[in-house]
Amino acid sequence: MSDRLRTTLGPLSLENPFINASGTFGYGVEYAGFVDVARLGGVSVKGISLEPRPGNMPPRTAETSAGMLNSIGLANIGIDAFVNETMPQLRDLGVTVIVNTFATSVEDFVELATRFEQVEGIAALELNISCPNVHAGGMHFGVSGEAAAEVTGAVRAVTSLPLMVKLSPEAGDICDVARGVESAGADIITMINTIRGMVIDVDRQRPMLGQKMGGMSGPAIKPLGVRMVYEVFQAVDIPIIGMGGISCLRDVLEYMLAGSAAVQVGTANYAEPGISLRLSDELEAYCAERDISAADLVGKAHQAD
């Protein structure tokens, strides 16, 4: 692997700009027998909470046109099991670990960050702020710049890790939220998380999912993600990691041209667990042909003609 794909994201440096998105690649270890996980730019693990969570009532997934809904309910093994059992395996495998965390209060976000501060072998922390804040009537942290800045600032105060904050497309004003997290000390913005949708089972005449609504992902949301990355690129100076519907090289190029310095691949992992490595090879070939490095593509679509 030459250096054309080396990616610098503020304090974080990656071998290549391909990160597998949280919730779509487990904890990474499950794929060790299938994919050379150490070669990935990084793995954002399934969202970790203080306590283990069993998840929501099934059915938890449904397919939509060029996309899918999920209402997994952030099922995860909890921080203890992750730190004690999973992290050692990830260190042995040489995976570049990005720890995705979520909580329903600022205090819990801070406690998670504080505890990960002691853990060896973590490349970055990613805050999933698309969750209801129980102390704010369940209004989720991701909808306003203020709420997002509050949790970002509180975590920034206790962590020395590169700090990523993951934005929700349901934000009232995505640029406002982006500015909020930047001013509060985030190093990197990752976007976009899923947007809520519903599928109705016309035979049962009820919502398909046990939880009724689920987060939509996949190619269907790509134009939304590219548009929002394009807008946020003009609103902030910190690097952006784009995602939402990436499933081929062309999608990667669109996100980079819009302003993403790196990308995350989510739903596409289900169909092809090794897709990020394939896309990484394809991007390298693309850059070699043009004798450029991937970084040269970032934000190019903003240039005046």
């Binding site: 919730g23 779509t24 690649f25 487990g26 904890y27 499950e30 794929y31 027998g33 299938f34 994919v35 399934k46 069993p54 998840g55 099934p58 059915p59 938890r60 997934t61 449904a62 397919e63 046109s65 060029a66 996309g67 899918m68 999920n70 997994i72 099922a75 996949g218 190619p219 499933s247 739903t267 596409a268 992992n269 289900y270 169909a271 092809e272 667990p273 090794g274």
Partner: protein
């Protein structure tokens, strides 16, 4: 095999709306009957998810029996020799074969796939299974000739067009009377599995059922394929199963 981009080496059409897809694996596929693979073709952006299929054969050649029931299986059933596939597996927990108990295999519709694999494996070990195969009509009985070669085949159809008219549980009751020291291995529609489990429980015969659930990853990572446990909490079809002991799913109540 684990995970590969391969091409379809042969397509057979054992029944209307059914296709048997054969593909060559880079390395032999060390699979146990009941284990499955996730498959997706190069069909662009819709549908996005791969589909789960029980292995019918393993070895240098893998094969799956596809019944067209919706967008994904329609596309797969329409594929031709040389078309590209992404396949990964074998995945999940297969059937645990009991060494002494008389093997009684109960298949419903496309549930025949993993059980033909099992019947062949038993035959190789010199054991002839009793194979109960139920379907709606004679058109829903793919691979029955192959079964007849390796097992004692009993067929039922709901319309009586072939075999005994009615549901598969009728002959099952008789078979269990003749063979009380049996082990049931079953795969098929939800309703049939539950009925078979009831009969098994009543006859006090152990029963292994292969479940289905909508799946995204097939690898135990997405947590999508949850099924509630009778004792609370969830089991995951793709890695706790797809094969379960009947009572772990339906409780001992049944």
């Amino acid at each position: 095999m684990k995970y590969l981009r391969t091409r379809i080496s042969e397509v057979l059409y054992p029944a209307p709306d059914h296709a048997l897809l054969r593909f060559s694996a880079d390395q032999p596929i060390p699979a146990i009957p009941g284990e499955f693979v996730m498959i997706r073709g190069d069909w662009g952006v819709h549908p996005v998810l791969p589909r789960a299929f029980s292995l019918v054969e393993s070895g240098d050649i893998g094969s799956v029996l596809v019944k067209a029931v919706g967008p994904g299986t329609d596309l797969l059933a329409g594929m031709q020799e040389d078309d590209e596939l992404v396949v990964f597996g074998p995945l999940g927990q297969g059937y645990e074969v009991h060494a002494e108990r008389t093997p009684v295999l109960v298949a419903g519709g496309v549930g025949v796939a993993p059980l033909l694999f099992l019947a062949r494996q038993l035959a190789e070990q010199g054991r002839k299974a009793i194979f109960l195969y139920g379907a709606r009509t004679e058109n829903d009985l793919p691979l029955s000739e192959d079964i007849a070669e390796v097992a004692e085949l009993i067929i039922t159809t709901e319309n009586g067009s072939v075999g005994e008219k009615g549901l598969i549980t009728q002959p099952l009751v008789r078979v269990l009377e003749e063979h009380p020291y049996a082990q049931i291995y079953t795969c098929g529609p939800e309703g049939m599995l539950e009925a078979v489990a009831k009969v098994a429980a009543a006859a006090d015969v152990p029963c292994q059922v292969a479940l289905e659930a909508p799946m995204a990853c097939g690898m135990g990572t997405c947590k999508g394929c949850a099924v509630p446990r009778p004792d609370g909490g969830y089991k995951y079809v793709c890695y706790d199963g797809p094969v379960f002991e009947a009572q772990d799913i339906y409780g001992t109540a049944s």
